[in-house]
């Protein structure tokens, strides 16, 4: 809320009500909304808001590191407010549910994997796909 306003202002950006609305939707969305879904939800409140504003806001929030863009096996992305702790995703190929799990992995990787020794890690994305315990029974 107010912290976002400060972050934007510090970056010479304005805290418009469109931006406030979009951020709020992403926050409530528990991190699993795509651009179009964010747009549809925003329109319920602000019927004149445009899809370009959604895309432009997402772009900006990525740059300011306020949100993360997640890359699932689709032709579009999903967004979530940047979490403070490390967390990753489990995608069920049966029902599409996304289960989030927190686990401190990047320190482990850095230590274990030789290729990572000389690498300055910015972010780690892990996506485990498979079938959840509900779907595995009814599979196929």
């Amino acid at each position: 809320m107010t912290t976002n306003r400060v972050k934007l202002n510090n970056a010479g950006k304005r805290f418009t009500h469109q931006r406030a609305l979009i951020m709020d939707i992403i926050r409530r969305g528990q991190g699993h909304l795509d651009a179009d879904e964010i747009f549809r939800r925003a329109r319920e409140k602000e019927s004149r808001l445009s899809l370009s504003t959604v895309y432009r806001t997402l772009q900006m929030m990525k740059e300011l590191e306020l949100v993360d863009e997640l890359h699932f096996s689709e032709n579009h992305h999903h967004y979530e407010v940047k979490p403070t702790k490390e967390h990753y995703h489990l995608v069920c190929l049966g029902c599409g549910r996304v289960i989030e799990f927190g686990y401190p992995l990047s320190r482990y990787l850095k230590k274990e994997v030789p290729e990572l020794k000389d690498f300055d890690i910015d972010e780690t994305e892990i996506r485990v796909a498979g079938y959840c315990n509900l779907c595995r029974r009814t599979r196929r």
Copy 2:
């Protein structure tokens, strides 16, 4: 080569020269080509080959598990022949280079992460983004 022919035939698919060519390009591409690049390379040999054939072939190869589709931070995907051993990707945000590393992680995750206990893992994708040792010096 011949093994692919057998796999296709078993699935009731035909081993066309377009498919052979596309598979060959993906194999040579060391796993870091997108659909359009595959198309451009294929056209050098088969000038009448169409982009839809590339997409249709990629789709089919994914289903037959002959290739993997990789999801980087872009609006399109990259493809590689399905590796037999576990391996993951390091993407340099400076030069765009993709460094591949092999590491047996899924057994470890399965054991360590409670959310994975009840989950039937199909595939694990890890993407570590950051700066390689060449780029980290000249960064910004």
